[in-house]
Symmetry: C2
Subunit: 338 residues, 2 copies
C-alpha cells in the first residue's frame, strides 16, 4: 500500500486519519492507491495500536425494519471505510437500555450512535456523560442538549411538499398534524404554514392527528366536513395518508381526481395502498454515515476540540406517486394568462 503510493506507511496512516499534516499531492497519491487497491484499514491493528474509537455502540429500540436496515447499511459502510467496528444493542425497554449501555461502557466502548428514542432518555445521557463517552444523536427531540446530532430537514421538505401542491394548482389544502409531542411533526406543520404564507394563502385548515391510522380517519372526516372543502390533504405521515384515502373512497371521492392526498416517510404502506401515496423519504442511510463520520472526526480531534459542537441537518426527498395531481377546477395555466 505504502509502496503503491510511493510514500511511507506513516504518511498513509496520517492521511487516513484526516491528513492534517500532509501536503495535498501526497494525500492524492495515497487516496489513489487506496482506491486502486481497494485498501481497507485493518481495524484490529488500529485498535491494538491504540487510536481512535475502534468500536462504536449502536443502541436501538424497536424501530421499523426499513429504518433499521437503512441505518445499519449507512453506518456499516462508513465504519468499515474508516476502520471502525459497529456493536449492536437492541433494547425492549428503558431498563435494558441503560444496562446494555453500561456493559458496553465497561467493555471499553466510548463512542455511541443514538437513534431517536434512546437519545431522548435523560438517564441514558446521564450515564454517557458520567463515563465521558461521546455520542451522536440521530433525530433527537431536543437539539440543544447534544454536542453532536444528525437530523432530517422536516421543515424544508414539508415546505416543498406544500409548494408542490400549490404549484399543481391547489389552494384549499388541509393539513393533518402529527402527535403534538413530536418534534418532526411540529417542524412539518411549520414548514407547511410557511409555504402557505409565502403563497399568500391565508386559510389553512389544520386538524390534530396522532400518527395513527385511526386518528387519520377521524381527522380526515373533520377536514371534509369543514365548510370550504379541500382539494388536497397533507397528512403528517403515511399511515394517516392511507387513512385519508380510505375515508375519501368511503365518500365516493376519487384520489387524486377529486382529492389529492400526500403523506411523509415513505413507509411500506405508501406503496402498497392504491393509489400509491406521494410522500417524502428521509435520508436515513446518509444520516447514519454522517453520524459515523462525526464520531470519527471527534475522536481524531481528541481533547483539542473538546467543546466543538456539530448539528447536521440533511434534506429529504420528495417522491411523487399516484395520489397527487392538479385539482379538478384547474386554474388557468400561466401560459394561458400571458
Amino acid at each position: 500500500m505504502a509502496d503503491e503510493a510511493g510514500v511511507s506507511r506513516m504518511t498513509v496512516s496520517r492521511v487516513l486519519r484526516g491528513g492534517h499534516l500532509v501536503r495535498a499531492p501526497l494525500q492524492e497519491r495515497v487516496f489513489a492507491a487506496v482506491k486502486k487497491l481497494n485498501y481497507r484499514l485493518n481495524v484490529s491493528a488500529r485498535a491494538l495500536a491504540g487510536s481512535g474509537p475502534s468500536r462504536v455502540g449502536l443502541v436501538y429500540s424497536n424501530p421499523s425494519q426499513a429504518f433499521l436496515s437503512e441505518l445499519l447499511t449507512g453506518a456499516l459502510k462508513e465504519s468499515s471505510k474508516l476502520g471502525m467496528q459497529l456493536t449492536l444493542t437492541a433494547d425492549a425497554d428503558s431498563h435494558d437500555r441503560t444496562s446494555e449501555i453500561e456493559s458496553l461502557l465497561r467493555s471499553g466502548v466510548t463512542s455511541f450512535l443514538l437513534p431517536s428514542p434512546a437519545c431522548d432518555a435523560p438517564d441514558v445521557l446521564e450515564l454517557l456523560r458520567e463515563a465521558k463517552a461521546r455520542w451522536v444523536a440521530i433525530s433527537p427531540a431536543n437539539l440543544e442538549i447534544h454536542p453532536f446530532s444528525v437530523s432530517a430537514d422536516h421543515f424544508d421538505i414539508a415546505g416543498r411538499m406544500t409548494a408542490r401542491l400549490i404549484e399543481l394548482g391547489h389552494r384549499r389544502i388541509g393539513f393533518i398534524a402529527g402527535d403534538p409531542a413530536s418534534k418532526g411533526g411540529a417542524e412539518r406543520l411549520r414548514g407547511h404554514l410557511r409555504a402557505m404564507a409565502s403563497a399568500g394563502i391565508a386559510e389553512c385548515p389544520v386538524e390534530q392527528g396522532y400518527f395513527t391510522f385511526q386518528s387519520g380517519l377521524e381527522a380526515t372526516e373533520r377536514l371534509l366536513k369543514s365548510t370550504a372543502a379541500c382539494t388536497a390533504i397533507i397528512a403528517c405521515n403515511d399511515d394517516m395518508a392511507a387513512a385519508a384515502i380510505s375515508v375519501a373512497h368511503r365518500h365516493h371521492l376519487n384520489v387524486p381526481e377529486d382529492l389529492t392526498i400526500v403523506g411523509f416517510d415513505d413507509t411500506p404502506i405508501a406503496s402498497i395502498v392504491s393509489p400509491a401515496i406521494t410522500t417524502a423519504r428521509q435520508p436515513i442511510a446518509e444520516m447514519a454515515q454522517s453520524a459515523i463520520r462525526m464520531l470519527h472526526a471527534a475522536a481524531m480531534a481528541g481533547e483539542a476540540d473538546e467543546n466543538k459542537r456539530t448539528q447536521k441537518v440533511l434534506p429529504c426527498t420528495l417522491i411523487e406517486r399516484e395520489s397527487s395531481a392538479g385539482p379538478r377546477e384547474q386554474p388557468l395555466p400561466e401560459a394561458a394568462l400571458s
Copy 2:
C-alpha cells in the same frame, strides 16, 4: 498475567484457546490468575495475530428492507461477539456483483456471507473457488453445491401451516404455488401435500402462482371456480394471500368467516391488509448468526477439516392473525362424538 500464573504467555494462550496440550495443574494456575486479575482476552490482538477470519464480506442484491435489517442485525451481533468485522457490498446487477467481490478478494477478504440471489450465480461461485475463499450460502436454490449453507425449513413450516388448518376443521384446502423456479416455493408445496396426505385428505387443488399480487388474483379466481369450493386457501407468500383476500371480498366472501386465507414470510403487507394475514416468519437473524458462526468455526479448524460440510436448516414460526379460523360448517367437535 503470565507472571501471575507463573507460566509463559504461550501457555496462557493455549489454555485460553481450549488448552488441549496443557497439563491440568498448569491450566488451573492460569484459570486462577484469569479470575484474580479479571483478565479479558484482547479481541483485536487475537485477530491481528491471525487466527480466525477478521473480515467477512456480505454481498446483497436489492432484498426487502425487512430481510436486510434482520440479516444485518443477526450477522452484526454475532460477528462483534467473535471479533470479526462485517464489510457490506450492495450490487444492482450481476456485473457489479462479481466486480465487487473481486475487489473484496483483492483486499484480503476470504470469508463471505452470500444471501440467496448471489449464492446461486455460477460466476460468483467460480470466482470464490478460484480465490480459495470460503462462503456460506443463505437460502441457496441448490444445497449440494455449497460446502456451507443455512436455510429456513420451508417444508416443515408449510406442513405445520396445513396441519393447523386441518386442526381448525378445514378439509377442502386450496394451495397457490409459488414460482416453479423457486426452491422455497417447491418445498412449501411439498410440505403442504405431505400434511394433507397424513390427514388422509386426497383432494388437493393446487393452482400455479408466481409470487406476484397479480398472479395471486388469477390463481384465486381459478381456485374459487373449481367445483368443490375451498374453505381455506394457502398462498405461497403474503402478496398472493393479500390478492386472495381482495378476490374474496370482490366475491362477497368474508375472511375468515367464509374463507380462511393464509400466506408466508410475514412481510409488511401481511399486517397492513384487513384482516391481517396469518403467515409464517423465517428466522433470518438466526440464520445470519449461524452463518457467521460457521465461518468462524471453519476458519478456526483451518486446513484440517478442509472437506467438512455443514448444511444448517432452521425452523420457521407460525404467526396466527385474523385471516384464519375454523370453517363455517364446523364438523362436530371431538368431545361431542364421544
